[in-house]
Symmetry: C2
Subunit: 188 residues, 2 copies
Amino acid sequence: MIKGILGYAHYLLKETIQPGETVVDATCGNGNDTLYLSKLVGDEGSVFGFDIQKQAIENTKQRLLQHNRTNVTLIHDSHANISNHIQPTTIIGGAIFNLGYLPKSDKSIITKGESTTLAIHNILKQLKEGGLIIIVVYHGHPGGQEEKESVLHKAKSLDQKLFSVLRYDFINQKNNPPFLLAIQKNTD
Amino acid sequence: MIKGILGYAHYLLKETIQPGETVVDATCGNGNDTLYLSKLVGDEGSVFGFDIQKQAIENTKQRLLQHNRTNVTLIHDSHANISNHIQPTTIIGGAIFNLGYLPKSDKSIITKGESTTLAIHNILKQLKEGGLIIIVVYHGHPGGQEEKESVLHKAKSLDQKLFSVLRYDFINQKNNPPFLLAIQKNTD
């Protein structure tokens, strides 16, 4: 069976992230991906989790506590400021973004094209060869279309010698379902 | 690493086709996929291979002979006429199309939207639940754009309750590289 968007996102992360690595959840939300990454890298690895909403950081903290995960640093700041929180010499093993708004929360607080593309740009500089940035693009909400265009523009402009950009998209579904972008740093 | 278009096509076929099944190579070309399918279904299974070009049928026949594969029926006819060659009661385990022209051959002899979409329509009627039609969409050649639009229109119009249609596409590459469509018949 073909994997759904979220299943394929986790599959790709699992395929490319190794235990002990440093990885990024750029949008903690309710902590699902943060928890997944925390287990993938194991106790020797570490996760940096970002969210602009205090509620998301709090939800994620509780989620991690329930599972006794202690290898995550939660950062209440925009993922655009990643360079303020992760050493520039740190190699990043992989990263995930879920664009849009925090589920069951204020839909006016959303990720935006400018900060999302800046965060992608900053993570790519530190991404390991063969590593992936996964972006789950929700775009049905107000503001979603603009961010989608902005992120697609950034993704399409990446040099194909250096990066492979996959769009994984179910094209016969109604109501603007999310699609996935996977940006891979090519190996030499 | 993210799989390329052809690697992902074979991966999906392998994931969904079982030994003993009946499968279709709708465009034999030089026989690469025919051979792959022949091995996947094993000696108890069977492959129906179609091509409108005599040269393609001949190339594929030689390819299969080299590998001692005897479970393939080669048919020198358009895949649009599939109903003339496969019993309507036969369940099809999976199928693959490579659109465009025969490599190293006359580029004016190409698959076309009307016959391709008709063939897809006919195969879907006999496809097993959970089964896939894989379509590798080459579209850089003269006539390719029209066929691409026609096939995308057909694919997008499939009822999402009955089918899932995935587009798998590297979006930062120049020179109109092929992309993949995978149509899955949903299970109940």
